[in-house]
């Protein structure tokens, strides 16, 4: 009789949670073990978030918060597959149906999904979100990523239909990855130009398993569990981003016990991490790649090829002259590896069989000799027609690793008879020089998108012609363009991979950059944290499922939700869209 009664009570509690009647009681959550609920995670943030509206976020810190407060229709899986809908997990959409001609996808919203202010999520919100992302006056940085979506229509209050301009393998990814659904009832009356300065941008109302609580600029930003969430409350009570002005201050917070988690530890910090009885190292995959980018065009007269680096033979020789394995060990120790190309190993298109330009100083010298670059005057620097084999290398001084790489490259190329002058700039000035193409070479780094075809934006011919694109080196090769276009159009994954391999091969042969490092990410975390998974594109994606074992809780874990600030009502700006 007694066990029967307990089962009945448990069933009642679960039903209450499923009906959206959750409260602070851990038992009243969908499938959550009461003992596993609770705890506080303090994340040391090395910078401040910019804006908390997903469509306008520019900073990685802003993206982390926005991703936790807002939700997409579906979430990419751990494999980061971008073709079709394999691996994608339901979020605001509980299911979806493809049109027979694949021109559209109908997303069926979860009827229990609610905004944090209690209003239900409706298909009209999805249509509004798409309109906002593509509105030229909003100028969303994500707009180019959703440009293949023609429109979003509302079939009924819970069904939003995405119509595409063309059929392509990444339609589903395009529809769900870049857009987080926004509340029309709170933003619909805000003029596009006023969005950035609207109160909503600093105190957002979303649908995520965490809701916004408070933000004290330069100090902290706090999120708390939405206890009534339709997918079950977050297991942690709260997440606090403790804002530090830079990397060093952020790691100090971790080591001093003022924070529980910092996402990137450096090799030189590992002994300290190992000595600290409260901390552990948590390795995870990332999507970052660093490279020395060559400018194909003359920095002073963009129409002309670069007098030194415009020659593919020189670029190949420079690549051969650099011992990238040794450099990666010197700078990153075991925290990095030499990339296979412009992509990282965690992406679905990664291919270790693509030929690489190997380290071979003798062949590099021979190649430079045959290209006419010889050290005739014996000063250690090769010349050709009176021009020395020399270039300036831009390095952002905000990155210790890239500064170190600059010195190593300078030293190794000196042995090959190449004079490299390092120009250290702060990040803003560095970026400006890249964007305006006023550089010879630069050590740049990218955080990639899971889509393997995203490299088209950085290396595609069309992007090279558009001066404002992110193809800063103005690299262009019709063979690469054709291969990457075919890869993005192929519906068969195997065929798509074949084309991708061709694209990577072309790029490696042309050497528009020397692929320097692919970091192996290692986070520092408090030992009491049970981290359930860190996705390569967004390590924070699973925080709602991280837990703190009851027996290991410290004072800040026992704060509960009572002290959480209720979000202030969001004032609406005047005007209309």
């Amino acid at each position: 009789m007694r066990p029967h009664l307990l089962r009945l009570l448990a069933l009642t509690a679960t039903s209450a949670a499923l009906a959206g009647c959750g409260d602070d009681r851990p038992a009243a959550t969908a499938g959550n073990d009461s003992s596993a609920v609770g705890g506080t995670l303090v994340i040391a943030a090395p910078a401040e978030a910019d804006i908390l509206i997903p469509a306008l976020v520019n900073s990685i810190e802003g993206k982390k918060v926005a991703d936790m407060v807002f939700e997409p229709l579906a979430e990419i899986g751990a494999s980061l597959n971008t073709v079709g809908d394999e691996g994608f997990q339901p979020r605001l959409a509980e299911r979806w149906t493809w049109a027979p001609d694949s021109q559209s996808i109908a997303f069926h919203l979860n009827p229990r999904a609610r905004w944090h202010d209690g209003r239900p999520v409706r298909a009209e919100d999805v249509r509004f979100t798409h309109a906002l992302y593509v509105d030229p006056d909003v100028a969303s940085p994500q707009a180019p990523n959703v440009s293949d979506i023609d429109s979003v229509s509302v079939r009924d209050s819970l069904t939003a239909v995405f119509w595409f301009k063309r059929r392509f393998p990444e339609q589903f990814f395009t529809a769900v990855y870049h857009m987080h659904v926004l509340p029309k009832h709170l933003l619909g009356d805000t003029p596009a130009a006023a969005l950035k300065s609207a109160p909503f941008a600093r105190q957002p109302v979303g649908t995520g398993r965490f809701r916004f609580s408070r933000w004290t600029p330069s100090e902290r930003l706090e999120l708390v569990a939405d206890t009534a969430h339709y997918r079950g409350r977050a297991k942690l009570d709260r997440v606090v981003f403790s804002i530090a002005p830079d990397f060093t201050a952020a790691t100090t917070k971790l080591f001093a016990g003022e924070a529980d988690f910092f996402e990137v530890m450096r090799p030189e910090q590992m002994p300290e991490l190992a000595r600290n009885a409260s901390l552990k190292a948590v390795p995870y995959a990332g999507l970052d790649v660093g490279y020395m980018l060559f400018n194909m065009r003359d920095a002073k007269a963009g129409a002309r090829p670069h007098p030194v680096l415009g020659d593919v033979a020189v670029r190949r020789a420079l690549t051969m002259a650099l011992d990238r394995e040794t450099m990666v060990r010197s700078v990153l120790d075991s925290f990095g590896m030499v990339p296979l190309g412009p992509h990282v190993r965690a992406t679905s298109g990664a291919d270790a069989s693509v030929p690489q330009i190997a380290y071979d100083p003798a062949r590099a010298a021979a190649l430079l000799d045959s290209a006419g670059w010889r050290d005739a005057d014996g000063d250690g620097v090769r010349e050709k027609a009176g021009r020395p084999l020399a270039f300036r290398l831009l390095v952002p001084n905000s990155s210790k690793n890239r500064v170190r790489y600059g010195v190593l490259i300078q030293d190794q190329l000196k042995k090959a008879g190449v004079a490299v002058t390092i120009e250290e700039l702060d990040f803003n000035a560095f970026s400006e020089r890249l964007m305006t193409r006023r550089f010879d070479a630069a050590i740049d780094a990218r955080h990639l998108d899971p889509s393997p075809t995203v490299i088209k934006q950085s290396w595609g011919g069309q992007a090279a012609r558009a001066r404002e694109s992110s193809n800063y080196g103005s690299y262009a090769n019709a063979r690469f363009d054709a291969a990457i276009d075919s890869a993005s159009a192929a519906t068969d994954p195997a065929r798509s991979r074949t084309f991708l391999r061709q694209a990577y091969r072309t790029l490696n042969e042309d050497a528009p950059a020397v692929w320097l490092y692919e970091p192996r990410m290692v986070a520092g975390a408090h030992k009491r944290l049970q981290i359930t998974g860190m996705r390569a594109d967004a390590w924070w994606a699973g925080i709602a499922d991280w837990t703190v074992a009851p027996g290991q809780r410290i004072a800040r874990d026992r704060l509960g939700l009572a002290s959480a600030a209720a979000p202030a009502p969001v004032r609406l700006a005047n005007g209309s869209r």
Binding site: D50, P245, R467, E468, S469
Partner: protein, 321 residues
């Protein structure tokens, strides 16, 4: 005295205006672009241009300058593109933190420095004088950023008894009682204020010691002693005159204190003017940087003015000039 004061205020205003001008021009001539930070690196040229127009950066520099000065004269410090709020809101948040830190550091440095100087002067040549003098000079010789880093290292890693970052406890501050909030702030202020104070303390002590020793041989001190005044009374007599060099030091200390605050705020993650300015520089937020420089130069000018007033209060002869 009134004319003198008015003259000093006018002088301070001119100094602030000059500093604002130089800052404005240098910032705009430096490489970089605020719109890169606002719109992101991959932004199109069209969006970037739209951003430049929105912030008036497309206009000729002299026009931008005149507009800025006109706005400044109206008390409008502009809109911060990196923070997406009025500059005055950012300043209103940061300035009290800096004033609190500098105020605490000044009180500590001058309070302890004067006491130490007096103690050393009274036992001039003793072991205490020699040891404390050497120690304080050693501390004085340390660069501010080094001292801050060492204190951070000691209290973050070796003896973790004091908070090393921030102005308050990230989690419990909001739920504390008013008294608890004050205590929490003071607790968080110990390290940054101590670092800043240590930088000044030795100089104050040295100046106070030297000044007291100098006046100790003055006729009026000898007369006071001859009239049978106790040592305490003699000290009170002598100290008033011996304070003049220390007051001068107060005026001179302001720029050093402001400079030190930049490092200290950065290292201890204290969200004051220094940290605001440094972050704004990296993000090319011209408006915040210029406002910070204007406010800081005004603070330095005010500090010097205050030193003059204290001089006049301590030395009646100056009031009549």
């Amino acid at each position: 005295m009134g004319r003198y004061l008015a003259g000093r205020v006018a002088q301070a205003l001119v100094t602030v205006a000059l500093v604002a001008t130089v800052t404005f021009v240098l910032l705009h001539l430096a490489p970089g672009d605020p719109c890169l930070d606002i719109e992101g690196r991959g932004v199109s040229a069209e969006l970037r241009e739209r951003c430049r127009v929105a912030y008036g950066l497309d206009r000729p520099l002299p026009e931008q300058y005149v507009r800025y000065l006109a706005a400044l004269a109206r008390g409008d410090l502009g809109w911060s593109p990196s923070l997406q709020e009025p500059v005055r809101s950012a300043l209103a948040r940061a300035l009290p933190n800096t004033l609190l830190l500098m105020g605490a550091a000044l009180a500590l440095a001058f309070g302890a420095g004067i006491a130490m100087g007096v103690a050393q002067a009274r036992r001039a040549g003793s072991l205490l004088d020699r040891v404390s003098g050497s120690l304080s000079m050693a501390v004085h010789a340390l660069p501010d950023f080094w001292l801050a880093t060492i204190l951070l290292l000691v209290f973050a890693y070796w003896i973790p008894i004091l908070p090393v970052t921030g102005t308050s406890d990230d989690l419990v501050y909001e739920s504390l009682s008013p008294l608890g909030k004050v205590a929490d702030r003071l607790y968080h202020m110990v390290l940054p204020a101590l670092t800043l104070a240590l930088l000044l303390f030795a100089a104050v002590a040295r100046h106070q010691r030297a000044a007291l020793l100098e006046v100790a041989h003055e006729d009026y001190v000898r007369t006071a002693r001859a009239k049978g005044l106790g040592e305490r009374g003699v000290l009170r007599h002598a100290l008033r005159n011996a304070l003049l060099p220390v007051i001068t030091l107060f005026g001179l200390a302001m720029p050093a204190l402001v400079g030190g605050a930049v490092f200290v705020e950065r290292i201890f993650n204290w969200p004051g003017m220094g940290q605001l300015a440094v972050t704004a520089v990296t993000r090319r937020d011209y408006w915040v940087v210029t406002a910070c420089v204007v406010v800081v130069s005004a603070m330095v000018a005010a500090g010097n003015l205050l030193a003059d007033l204290l001089h006049a209060a301590a030395d009646p002869r100056l009031r009549d000039r």
